[in-house]
């Protein structure tokens, strides 16, 4: 298997601030997803991004597959962005390995 490291583990932001979350992989992954887990436990898909950069509103993600990391950018954060953010890497075209998450708290 692979190890997935997410940083920071915890993050507190004032509403309106920007942030960058990072995900490192111990080995090459075939694909990568970012999720937001809301307070009710539902995992919401943010990005499916094996390489390159994608943007969706205030969120964007960049994956540099050759260097085994991905970044999630949140701009102009809102209180509704609070929750836990997970990245997951697909290994051997078979199963996804998750990191331990970044717990984000956006204060009004």
């Amino acid at each position: 298997g692979i190890q997935v490291e997410q940083s920071p583990p915890d993050l507190i932001l004032q509403e309106g601030a920007n942030s960058t979350l990072r995900c490192n992989f111990s080995d090459s992954v075939n694909n990568l997803q970012w999720f937001h887990q809301n307070p009710w436990g539902q995992l919401i898909n943010l990005f499916y991004i094996p390489s390159g950069t994608k943007q969706n509103g205030r969120l964007s993600a960049t994956t540099v597959a050759t260097e085994r990391y991905s970044l999630l950018y949140i701009s102009s954060s809102q209180t509704t962005d609070s929750g836990v953010y997970f990245c997951a890497g697909l290994y051997n075209f078979n199963k996804f390995y998750f990191g331990s998450g970044t717990k984000l708290n956006v204060k009004p």
């Binding site: 997935v4 075939n30 694909n31 997803q33 999720f35 009710w40 436990g41 539902q42 995992l43 898909n45 499916y48 997970f86 997951a88 697909l90 075209f93 078979n94 199963k95 996804f96 390995y97 998750f98 990191g99 331990s100 998450g101």
Partner: protein, 113 residues
């Protein structure tokens, strides 16, 4: 259906009992995954089906855990002789093909007393 559904949403059982957790994937998705999430951790892979067959069950913790997908759609995760350490949220996900984008259900919270 529109999304992945899981039943029950909550299950409380006593140590030693048998439980079944059900997952209904997105219609037409051939790949189905089961994960287990403990408090403060990311989801941990249990088993993956491609169609009716278990393509990888390397994440099942021991032989008390078993899963089936007899018709290539609905899947059932079965846990025998439950232990308190089995308490967790069990998540199911499906994708159109193995390795494609996964979509998760809301999970079943299992509590073993």
């Amino acid at each position: 259906g529109a999304g992945v559904s899981q039943t029950p949403s909550n299950k409380v059982t006593e140590k030693g009992k048998y439980v079944e957790l059900r997952c209904d994937p997105i219609s037409g998705h051939t790949a189905l995954y089961w994960y287990r999430q403990s408090l403060g951790q990311g989801p941990e892979f249990l088993i993956y089906f491609q169609g009716t067959g278990a393509a990888d069950d390397s994440g099942l913790p021991n032989d008390r855990f078993f899963a089936v997908r007899p018709e290539g759609s609905v899947s059932t995760l079965k846990i025998q002789r439950t232990e308190r350490g089995d308490s967790a949220v069990y998540l199911c996900a499906s994708s159109s093909l193995a390795g494609n984008e996964q979509f998760f259900g809301p999970g079943t919270r299992l509590t073993v007393l």
